[in-house]
Every structure is written in C-alpha cells, then in structure tokens.
C-alpha cells in the first residue's frame, strides 16, 4: 500500500489506550470500516504514521439500541446493520433507504455509518437522512464527552468539528412525536453503485411542517425547515453546488425542486398511511 514507507498499526482495547495512542501520534488516522481510508492510504492521499483500529475498543459499541427517547447507533455499526435493524426500518425508513444505496453490498458489510459522516463528503449518502431526522453525534475525547447536532458537525468537504484526539462514539436519532412521514430521494447517473448528483431526505409532520436534509448541493450536508405548502422553488436559494464530473451546478440547481417535490409527496403519502404508534 501506498508506499512501502513505515506505517504502524495499533488495535487498542480501551478508550484510555486509544487516547494515549492518539496523543503520541497526532497524525494517526482512525480506522473503522476502512473502505475510504484504505483507498486514500494506497493513493498516498493520506500519509499517517499510524492507523488506529477502533474495532476492538470495548467502549465503542456496535449495536443499535433504544435509549430513552432516542435510537442510538454505535460507532462500529456497519451500514448492513443499519439496513437490517427493525426499529430503524419502522421509525427511520428514509435512513434505511439511504443506507441501501451506499456503495455495494461488499462496502455496506464493512463501512460504518459513523465513518460515512466522519469522512464528511458533501455527497455522503446517509447524511441528508440523518440531518433531516435531527440526529446528533456523541463525541468522546481525553477531556470528556460532548454532543453536537449533526448539522453543526460538518464544516466543509472532509472537515468536521472533531478535535484532535476525539472520536465519534455514537449517533442519536430522536424518536419523532406525533404522526410523521419520511422519504429519501437521490439522483445518480446510473442505477447502482454511484455517487449522488443530488440527494435529499424529507421528514413531514402532521402539524404541517417539513424538514429537508440535502446532500451534494453544497460544501456540506444541511437541513431546511419549511412547511408542506411552501413554494419548493425557494429551495434553490439554499443550494451552492459545484460542477464536477457527475453534473454541472446548473443541472443540480434545476433538479433540486423536482426532487424536493417528489420526496415531499412520498413522505406525505407515507404519513397519511402511517400508524401513530409510540
């Protein structure tokens, strides 16, 4: 890989051991699923002196569990775990839909949802659903732990609020009150295994509100709060896409109201057919 230069590998079993390694190797890269990191190491895009594997840190969980008014996804949970989780399928179906289009099954079996957000790609497939559902991230570092709304966690392409030596421990999804509906939408060049031109998630509430999460139309995923009956053309004003090999900025802007309308309609349709179980 990369370079035959010296690369160390460490597999800490506790947070204390992990924080000690990160203190001693400030340029270390954290390894969870590795589906992005290994490609970067091989291309020389990342040249850390050490890779620190999170998978055997006892305190970093891999389960998906209901905790009070939240569903908590441990940082070691892989995308396939998200796809298969019954409570997420029932309560956060648009996140499951988004998870199903992450890479291929081989990638989904290895990649973690926490890694997907830590890489902070503007086109990260799970990010629009997570921000639309108002997810927060629980961070833990040598100084203690803190929680941040996911939308604030993203700074720009590849950049997050994670401080040096800090890790994402879990992601919390607040269980919605009342009757809601949600849907995921995505525009790609081909059917499978592609990055998004535009991706979005809509969560509607029977009080008349709608919350959208958008990806691939700005430097970071973001949310917009609106109402069902608001003019969707206005969504264009929130977007600041780039032109790249997948699509031009003008095309992305033009498609935004179209996808917004489709995804809103699907969410509303689901809400009307939804049960109001707690």
């Amino acid at each position: 890989m990369a370079t035959e230069r010296r690369l160390e590998y460490a597999r800490p079993e506790s947070l204390d051991e992990l924080f000690g390694l990160l203190r001693a190797h400030p340029d270390a890269r954290l390894l969870a699923g590795g589906t992005d990191l290994l490609v970067r190491l091989r291309k020389g895009a990342d040249l850390p002196s050490m890779v620190v594997d999170l998978k055997r840190v006892a305190e970093v969980r891999h389960d998906i569990a209901r905790i009070g008014g939240f569903i908590r996804i441990g940082a070691r949970a892989v995308i396939t775990d998200v796809v298969g989780d019954k409570s997420l399928r029932e309560r956060f179906p648009a996140l499951v839909e988004a998870a199903l289009v992450v890479g291929s099954v081989q990638i989904r079996n290895r990649a973690t949802i926490a890694g997907n957000i830590c890489n902070a790609s503007p086109a990260a497939d799970t990010a629009p659903a997570l921000v639309a559902y108002d997810a927060s991230v629980n961070l833990i570092g040598p100084e203690g732990s803190r929680a941040l709304p996911l939308e604030q966690f993203f700074i720009g392409p590849g950049r997050t609020m994670l401080a040096t030596g800090e890790i994402v421990a879990s992601i919390d999804l607040p269980l919605p009150d009342g009757r809601t509906g949600s849907a995921f939408g995505r525009l790609t060049r081909r059917h499978g295994v592609d990055l998004a031109i535009v991706s979005l998630c809509c969560v509607t509430h029977d009080s008349g509100t709608a919350r959208f999460g958008f990806g691939a139309v700005g430097p970071r995923p973001f949310a917009v709060n609106t109402r069902w009956d608001a003019p969707l053309e206005d969504m264009r004003g929130h977007a600041s896409p780039i032109s790249d090999l997948r699509a031009g900025a003008e095309y992305r802007i033009a498609m935004l109201p179209v996808l917004t309308r489709r995804t809103l309609n699907t969410a509303l349709d689901r809400m009307r057919h939804a049960h109001t179980s707690p």
């Binding site: 990369a2 490609v39 291929s104 290895r110 499978g192």
Partner: protein
C-alpha cells in the same frame, strides 16, 4: 507483524506488514490466487471474500485487521472435489466468459443466497451490483444464480 486467522477452515499464521491488504496476503503469502486483484479500490468486486460470513472486498481490508477472524475464499467452496451448487450452475449456464470476475461473482452470490435463499432477478442484480464483468456476461450470471437458488436455496445438495 504475525497474524493468526482461519482461512477456508484451517488456522493459518502469516507474517505481514501493516500496510498489506487481506487480498495481498491471500494471494502472495497463502497462494490462494483464486481471489483476483483488479481495481484495488472496492469498485469491481473481483477480490470478494467472506469475512466472518459477510462478503467484503479483500482489497479494502488490512490483513492485520483479520487477527482471529474467519475468511472463506473461492477455493473454500468446493468440498471433496464436489462443486458448490453455484459453481455447478455457472458451468451449466455458460456464465463464464473470460472468467476473471467469476470467483468474486460466485462468492458474492454465495453471500446473497445465505441471506436471501430465493432472490428475485432484481435482488440478484442488486446483490451483484458490486461485481463488474467486463465481458458483460451479466444475463447468464444472473441466470446461473437463479438456477442455483431454484435447486434448493443455494445449499449444497447430496
């Protein structure tokens, strides 16, 4: 570093560097060259193996991550010279053209049938979406997986 892992049912001890991928170790240290190296970035699926029963791209796994884990490669599918029903179906259907993608296709299909014994055509296509065939032999590959599924949930028949 020295790692111990189980490959196709046997414990193996391997010397490797931290940057070596599971793919490199399988092919170059263990001489299991059925698993193919192609894109080396998780796009093509030629290096698909089962890691603890789940299909993964071996190029995207460091060998050192596999300490204590269980790996199954294409070489581990046939038992006592008897082809796995998927292998038999690929032969009968003429699903093999140049053959380079086939080990990855079969291992990915084996995983698909282990999670979904009776997949629809669309589910087969989705299950194999991470495997590219540059001969474009997809329709017979899908037929082969369907045939294996019809013959008893993709399980070995005796």
């Amino acid at each position: 570093m020295t790692i111990v892992l189980t490959v196709n049912g046997s414990p193996r001890t391997v010397e490797c560097k931290p940057h070596h991928s599971l793919l490199e170790v399988l092919r170059e240290r263990l001489s299991l060259t059925g698993t193919k190296e192609c894109c080396d970035e998780g796009e093509c699926g030629a290096c698909t193996v089962l890691l603890n029963g789940r299909a993964v791209d071996a190029c995207l796994v460091l060998a050192v991550e596999c300490e204590g884990e269980t790996v199954q490669t294409i070489e581990g599918l046939a038992e006592n010279g008897r082809l796995d029903p998927l292998q038999q179906a690929f032969v009968e259907t003429g699903a093999v053209q140049c053959g380079f993608c086939i080990p990855g296709m079969i291992v990915a299909a084996r995983y698909l049938l282990s999670t979904n014994p009776h997949p629809s055509e669309d589910e087969i296509k989705e299950g194999l979406a991470g495997n590219l065939c540059r001969c474009a032999g997809y329709s017979r590959i899908v037929s082969a997986v369907s045939l294996a599924a019809e013959r008893g949930q993709g399980q070995r028949q005796d």
